[in-house]
């Protein structure tokens, strides 16, 4: 009798575990997803064994990962590679000349009309570091870390409008509805932190990117995988703060009461979902404590603030870089930064290469360099993959909106070749891959697509991008759609 009882007991607990995950993983066939959920939902409670067991190691990755986490710095609006990293003296020689027909045939532009003029490089370039990478004078700090970086100089994309291009970059498809990269990664790997979501989003520049919040949405994956936005004003995470006048202790007591009554409900009703709810309330409480702590950068020493150039008490890209480091330090899997304001058309001073662009470089140059140095001095750079780039690049021609010469200087959207870079997380140091022609217009060699970037990011995390799939509406979907190959050349 004893044995029978034990057997049923054990079976029940095994099935309860299965059942709890059922809602989320109805159609997930890979072991990966199961593991992911386990760790996302695990909450260090007495129910841990019920909700989260089974070998983290078994399915955590397809092969040994080089990186544990990712910090993705997306410059929304798309910065001009020709004023930052692509040194093209020939282009400057052609400055002011009409653009040759051959460059315009069959091309689609967002704003350029008729025959535009070539636009020489607006800033001086010099070689930096041992690797001798060219960097513009607007990025003195980045110049100091080029020996940590692999440049991808011939990235191309299919989309020449912001929203679809951002979507392609972040979700693998230009159309809405697919999960973002961070969602895929947390779905595959879970979070290492039990008190924080595995995928966090930091936005600066005053606006959400053109594609809206769906670029950190979970698409058809369950919403547990969607990016959680940290905010610089109001609650650090939506709904995190207790109501006014409500102490932390009182919140603790209310959650205790809720869980006590729910526990009783469980004993009556027997639904394992109640146990999940109990642990989620516990995690909510722990998030209330840990998230503000992590997001309170005031406690960082002065030299760190100086290094990043933070503005205390305000939201800024520099603050977000520092936050990103703090988050990966705590085991957050995927930290996505968006900085808005890089769309340098020249239609207004704020979006001109000889205007707002200088300011954007100034705002981001020092914090990005600081982030790399800071990660390195903490020994975190080896296990943190840092990615930098926009959704496309900018034309070597000067934009002539309406067929007229504009008051300020700017470049139009360019999809054929632009620069991105990666550092840390098993990426070669002081390296460069790909090359464009002497005008920076077409790729000459080492051309890589957005899907290749995604494949490479997943690869560094130990995931085979072809195998991380989710069954939805009759077929398996993956981040890289049907494409993508790992850029082996930049991997150690």
């Amino acid at each position: 009798m004893m044995d029978e009882h034990k057997l049923i007991e054990e079976f029940f607990s095994a099935r309860a575990q299965n059942n709890t995950r059922r809602h989320f993983l109805k159609s997930c066939t890979s072991a990966l997803g199961g593991v992911a959920l386990g760790s996302l939902m695990s909450c260090g409670t007495k129910y841990d064994n019920l909700l989260n067991e089974n070998s983290i190691t078994e399915g955590i990755a397809h092969f040994a990962p080089k990186a544990k986490s990712v910090i993705y710095l997306h410059m929304a609006g798309s910065p001009s590679q020709l004023e930052m990293f692509e040194y093209k003296p020939e282009l400057s020689k052609l400055h002011g000349q009409p653009c040759p027909e051959s460059l315009l045939n069959g091309k689609k532009f967002a704003f350029i009309e008729g025959v535009p003029e070539m636009l020489g490089q607006q800033y001086k370039f010099s070689q930096k570091g041992v690797s001798g990478a060219y960097v513009s004078e607007l990025l003195p700090h980045t110049g100091e870390v080029v020996d940590e970086i692999s440049f991808l100089r011939a990235v191309h994309t299919d989309q020449f409008n912001h929203a679809p291009a951002q979507m392609l970059m972040q979700t693998g498809s230009p159309r809405l509805g697919r999960p973002s990269m961070g969602s895929w990664v947390t779905y595959g790997l879970g979070s290492e932190n039990k008190d924080l979501p595995g995928f966090m989003v930091l936005v600066s520049g005053g606006k959400t990117p053109s594609a809206g919040k769906s670029i950190w949405g979970s698409g058809f994956l369950p919403t547990v995988y969607q990016g959680v936005q940290c905010r610089s004003e109001g609650d650090p995470v939506l709904y995190l703060n207790n109501p006014d006048g409500f102490s932390r202790n009182l919140r603790k007591k209310t959650i205790d009461a809720i869980n006590q009554i729910n526990q009783e409900e469980y004993e009556m009703a027997g639904d394992p979902e109640i146990l999940t709810r109990i642990s989620q309330y516990e995690m909510a409480y722990r998030m209330q404590i840990s998230a503000p702590e992590i997001m309170d950068i005031d406690k960082e020493p002065e030299y760190i603030h100086e290094m990043y150039g933070t503005t205390q008490g305000k939201g800024s890209f520099a603050n977000n870089c520092l936050l990103a480091r703090r988050l990966v330090e705590k085991g957050v899997r995927f930290v996505q930064l968006y900085d808005w304001g890089w769309d340098s058309h020249g239609a207004a001073k704020s979006e001109a290469l000889n205007g707002g662009f200088i300011e954007k470089c100034r705002e981001t140059d020092q914090p990005i360099a600081a982030l790399i140095k800071d990660l390195k001095q903490r020994g975190l750079l080896e296990e943190t993959l840092v990615v930098w780039g926009g959704e496309f690049g900018r034309t070597p021609m000067r934009e002539n909106r309406g067929g007229k010469t504009m008051e300020y200087i700017g470049r139009d959207h360019h999809t054929d070749a632009y620069t991105m870079w990666m550092a840390g997380g098993g990426i070669k140091k002081g390296h460069s891959f790909g090359e464009t022609d002497e005008l920076g217009y077409h790729a000459v060699n080492g051309k890589v697509h957005v899907h290749d970037i995604q494949a490479t990011i997943l690869n560094q995390l130990g995931i085979n991008h072809e195998k991380l799939t989710y069954f939805f509406q009759g077929r398996d979907y993956r981040l890289t759609d049907l494409y993508g190959s790992v850029i082996k050349d930049i991997i150690i």
């Binding site: 057997l7 099935r15 109805k26 809405l176 990117p209 369950p222 209310t254 009461a257 027997g270 998030m287």
Partner: protein, 913 residues
Amino acid sequence: MVNKKLIIIFKILYDYTMKSNLYLLAFILLTYISACNDPKISYNNEVKPILTTKCLSCHGGVKKNGGISFLSADEAIKTAKSGKQAIIPGNARDSELIKRISHNNQELRMPYQKPPLSAEEIETLKTWINQGADFEDHWAFSPPAENPVLNYHSNPEKFSIDFFIDRKLSQAGLTTSDKASPQTIARRAALDIIGIPAPEYILTKFLKEPTTENYQEYLNKLLELPEYGEKWTSMWLDLARYADTQGYEKDPHRDIWSYRDYVIKSFNDDKPYNQFIIEQLAGDLLSEPTDEALIATAFHRNTMTNTEGGTDDEEFRVVAVIDRVNTTYEAILGITMSCVQCHDHPYDPIIQKNYYQSYALFNTQQDADLDNDFPLFSHYPLNKRDSIRRLVELYSGIKIEEKSSILNQVVSQALFPLLKPGFARESYGTNLLSNNAAGNFENNAKIDFGNFSFQGQNSVTISYNLDEYVDCTLFIDEQAESSFSLGSNNLKFEKTKTIRLNKPLTGKHHVTLEIHPENSWKWWQKGTINTLLFEPVMHEREYIFELNRELSKVDKVTVPVLKEQTEDIKRVTQIFEKGNWTAKGEAVEPDIPNIFRKNNSITNRLEFAQWVANPNNPLTARVYVNRIWEQIFGQGLTTTLSDFGAMGEKPSHPELLDWLAIQFVSKWNWSTKELIRHIMLSSTYQQSSKVSKEKQAADPSNKWLSRGPRVRLSAEQTHDQLLAVSELLSLKKYGPSVMPAQPDNIWSVVYSGAQWKESEGADRYRRSLYTYWRRTSPYPSMVTFDSPSREYCVSQRVRTNTPLQALVMLNDTLSIEAAQSLAAKTLKKHPDTNIELQITDMYHKAIGNSPNQEIIKVLTELYDISMKEFKNGNSNSQDFIFIGNSNGHDLHFASLSVVANTILNLDAFIMKN
């Protein structure tokens, strides 16, 4: 004995749970069971699963390696590239398929480089081929039919939902659960029918005397409440991807809430589902469309419009058309047509050409991704239509049929000889404004006023506000009557111009005005043409100006609608090679997919809609019945709501699904209310949701329904319930979407100055389906509770259980406001200081049951802790309390609010059980 057997089954289950996956186990058991019972191999139940999982990915619709596909009989028995025949019906031994799956050579053995088929699987295939290799139709592609074994007609009384459920339960060795308490059933049914707890006056009688009759009456009363339509509309809005914005980048506002109101009204009127479908797919093509039917076509105008600079309108028009095809099939027909965009369906016998035959139906409408969402239908809001009708009848004496066609045309006739563009029959290249004037002219703008009976009028006076000159031509019966120029340099003053007609008009004539601005006017130029007045005014029609004045008090609204292109410019549809819209292939005509084509062939959208809504359509009723079932029980009889194809989950109760579909169509005349009523009257529905460990083990997902549903409330139900139990809820119906409290800085959309401006008064507390839905930045608490962002059709919400949901329920302003309001209402009702009584009252109000002693104890202790907290200043009641008149110093009220906040976070509150 029984125990022993159970133990053995448990042992096996247990072993498999730990070692392997359950699907394998289930498969083995199924195979075992079916082999024992029926020597005839069933293609659908036994063979198709093998082919689908093991063969079709290389030999299916997409890849036909070696020239062989097992998708249909035709393809499977033909001679392959090798010259051999994969399947020779009746002859397994010589069939290449059998040779290859049992081949010794690894290079030749199939599936190639994958694990071999099991001996049982090979045996199944052999037997099936020997029995003649009968490729039956996929179950969901044949209409639900009379079951030959059960014979529904012979004894209709015998059959009910419970009959089918009980039958499966006994097969699974399970028993039903006890009936849930009347309180639980009452709450469950109210949440399912109206989405909020039942009003007291309906509830009391049933709870006092919970008899079957009273339960029936309780359900009927709930079904008659207008809140019923609001609850069920939420489900449909996900399918229709309804939102208040255009979707891309700047994500500008779109007026389309009339469509939402149409859906609410349709549910409340219990409009037959077939009519509901026809109106939405092709209401504009009906011979006498009503306003409702035109507004219904906005179903497919919920596709997104791209207004980003530099985008190719044609590209995004194509995207919208593709979305219309995919949504139609997913939402209404439950098949994954989107697979067929680029290639033949990998698992279902649908070829790529079929996709574009459906595409052709949605490719010939006038909309073209224009920023202004043209074409629009300008109309009176649905809830104002009755008063407008009465007004027209009162003044004009014209009797208006209840179901009379388009109200605009009725009003237009009543006002004649005063013509207003807003009541025109058709208009092109101009926007009709809420005051019925026309503005924003493009070149060749045209207003077709329709036909009118003239009685000797010989001049027309046109009034306008214009600050530029435009050339106009007045047409009478398609003949240019007069060309003239209108304009002034002051927008503010209304001017008039009188034109003499060539001769006095008598009898019926058709009036059209064409407008030719020099440049298409920009939207910020507000110039309008207001009225045309034919004179002399007949003596007996003096009412016209009074009627006009009354009508002017009601603003009209617009909604984007479907409208066919004229025959001469209709787009031709070509197949997109590999789904690439720029690689156009063979031209195709509209039609339905091959597998559904019998002798019928369809040529336009209306015929298509009628095919979809035909009683013989194998999918429509099944898919809908299954959706309703899922809303009520938390999972469908077929769990994949949007995939009834080969890759979809097979129904747990196929006979029940078919029986319900048949009843729904033939007996209940497509009535949703009848369907819901029948489901809720079943004993199955009324079971307690409590589950023993044994039952949980034997049926963890409650697939066999041996207990009642226990499901987390939807985003809408959660939000609405908070408002309802705290008596904050406004029951105001219809109208433009509202903006309840939302945390600051949520809307920060590029190139957009749009602001979240919190609604005032009762509009802060409307039901959540009225909440303004911006696709790029949807209402955050609802998204946290798994609301989709409505960019595309979503047929099934995933129900998650996350810490972020806990934070919403604990801390969102709305949650706190509801807690304080609940406490305040209780204090008002029980002003004495009996804490237990007050706590009991709040709990009862929120959850519909009385709390037991243990719960009261926990909550009373929490109350005491709160009192202490507020007294010693750790928590500050003055800061905490923000409703009512400075009740912040009332520590008792504050502490009770803390308890209320706790109650509103209980599992019992968040769940339907």
